[in-house]
């Protein structure tokens, strides 16, 4: 039976994505490195502060890996949570693994410890860029129930590639935040079809923000992560300027579009209305060569 990535816990995802029994956790729950803030706020804390970090193997290659647990405060980044992620990334500069895998699932900064969380996220961003600059790819896997938003949405886009399922979502402000600030006419966060086709994995892949769309299965994420180990990212200034130019053209190309479907049509996808119904493999066939 295939194991759903969406339904799995962070620990189950790590066990399924990495080589069997290869994962060695750093600061495991028994170390009790917990948030100092939540207890003061009379709020339940987790032994691992909602993130698992450690080292293991992927297809025999040494990798570092982190997994955020959405079930604990929506995977939100607090001070300890962020420090564990930064520490893992900095460890990569010393141990030089083949890649760093980030199994993200996060609503962004943990509001209970907002200032510490914001600083932590900025430190994560800096650390991601340092690891990439050292020639070690940072690979994001996004397929959890809470998606990847806020500061972690930015972190994901700073990495070398994002592997995503349709259920995985990626963005800055989440649907509820947009509705609250701009009104239901702007974005109806209860319209699940609208939410998925706007922030879901298929749209993110077509816009070029995610590198590969996979089915919601831990085995599919593992296979795509193994493929991503072979990536040789172009970090030259020319490549960066090309990407900036392409991002700048998005508003010209798609500024008149009112819905993701309009963008898919503009990209040359035939019958774009059917895209949300397609399995990942069919979606990838239909949309090959038609990404922004």
């Amino acid at each position: 039976m295939t194991q759903s990535y969406y339904e799995a816990s962070a620990r189950e995802r790590l066990a399924a994505v990495l080589d069997p029994s290869s994962f060695q956790e750093i600061l495991p729950p028994s170390a009790r490195v917990m948030s100092p803030h939540l207890r003061q706020l009379d709020t339940p804390a987790a032994f691992d502060d909602g993130i698992i970090v450690g080292e293991g193997r992927l297809d025999g290659q040494p990798v570092l890996a982190a997994a955020q647990e959405g079930g604990f405060m929506g995977g939100a980044v607090g001070e300890v949570h962020g420090a564990k992620l930064v520490g893992l990334l900095e460890r990569a500069l010393d141990t030089r693994p083949t890649a760093v895998l980030l199994l993200v699932e996060s609503g962004g900064v943990r509001l209970h410890e907002a200032n510490a969380g914001l600083i932590a996220v900025s430190e994560v961003m800096r650390a991601v860029l340092a690891v990439r600059g050292a020639g070690i790819p940072v690979i994001v896997l996004d397929g959890g129930q809470f998606g990847c938003f806020g500061g972690m949405g930015i972190v994901a886009r700073l990495c070398d590639t994002v592997i995503i399922s349709e259920e995985g979502r990626l963005g800055l402000s989440g649907p509820e935040v947009i509705e609250t600030t701009c009104g239901v006419e702007e974005f109806d966060s209860r319209d699940r079809a609208l939410v998925w086709r706007t922030v879901g994995g298929k749209h993110r892949t077509l816009l070029g923000e995610a590198g590969e769309l996979v089915a919601d299965a831990t085995a599919a994420f593992r296979a795509a992560a193994i493929r991503a180990l072979a990536l040789t990212p172009d970090l030259s200034l020319e490549a960066l300027e090309r990407e900036h130019a392409a991002l700048g053209q998005r508003i010209e190309r798609f500024g008149e579009c009112h819905d993701a479907v309009d963008i898919w049509r503009a990209l040359g996808v035939e019958d774009p209305e059917r895209l949300p119904l397609l399995e990942a493999a069919d979606f990838n066939t239909v949309t090959a060569g038609k990404r922004a």
């Binding site: 028994s30 207890r39 804390a45 079930g71």
Partner: protein, 105 residues
């Protein structure tokens, strides 16, 4: 928030497959349970940190049942709870102990 402590005696020494095991997640209606081997003069010590205040008697009953099923000695059980129901607590306790002793979680 409330912290509850329990201690059970008369358990049997166990031979765990791993020094510690975790089950569950700190989420609404759920809890996480950490089971660790520790020399406690034969005791099984349980500490519950729970968001639901005033349910000490129910915790006592659930943990009495648990200890009757799994009379463990020299084991520390640490729980972070966000209002899990007694059935969920029993399930997670069994999952954690199974993982600890080497069965499947």
């Amino acid at each position: 928030m409330e912290t509850l402590k329990f201690e059970y005696r008369g358990g049997r020494p166990c031979n765990p497959a791993q020094a510690s095991a975790l089950a569950g997640v700190v989420g609404s209606g759920n809890l996480e349970i950490l089971v660790e081997q520790e020399p406690l003069n034969g005791a099984c010590a349980v500490e519950v940190v729970t968001a639901a205040v005033g349910f000490g008697a129910i915790w006592q009953a659930v943990l009495d049942d648990f200890f009757a099923r799994h009379p463990l000695a020299d084991v520390r059980i640490s729980i972070n709870d966000v209002g899990a129901t007694p059935a969920v607590v029993s399930l997670r306790l069994d999952q954690a102990v199974n993982a600890f002793l080497g069965g499947t979680a």
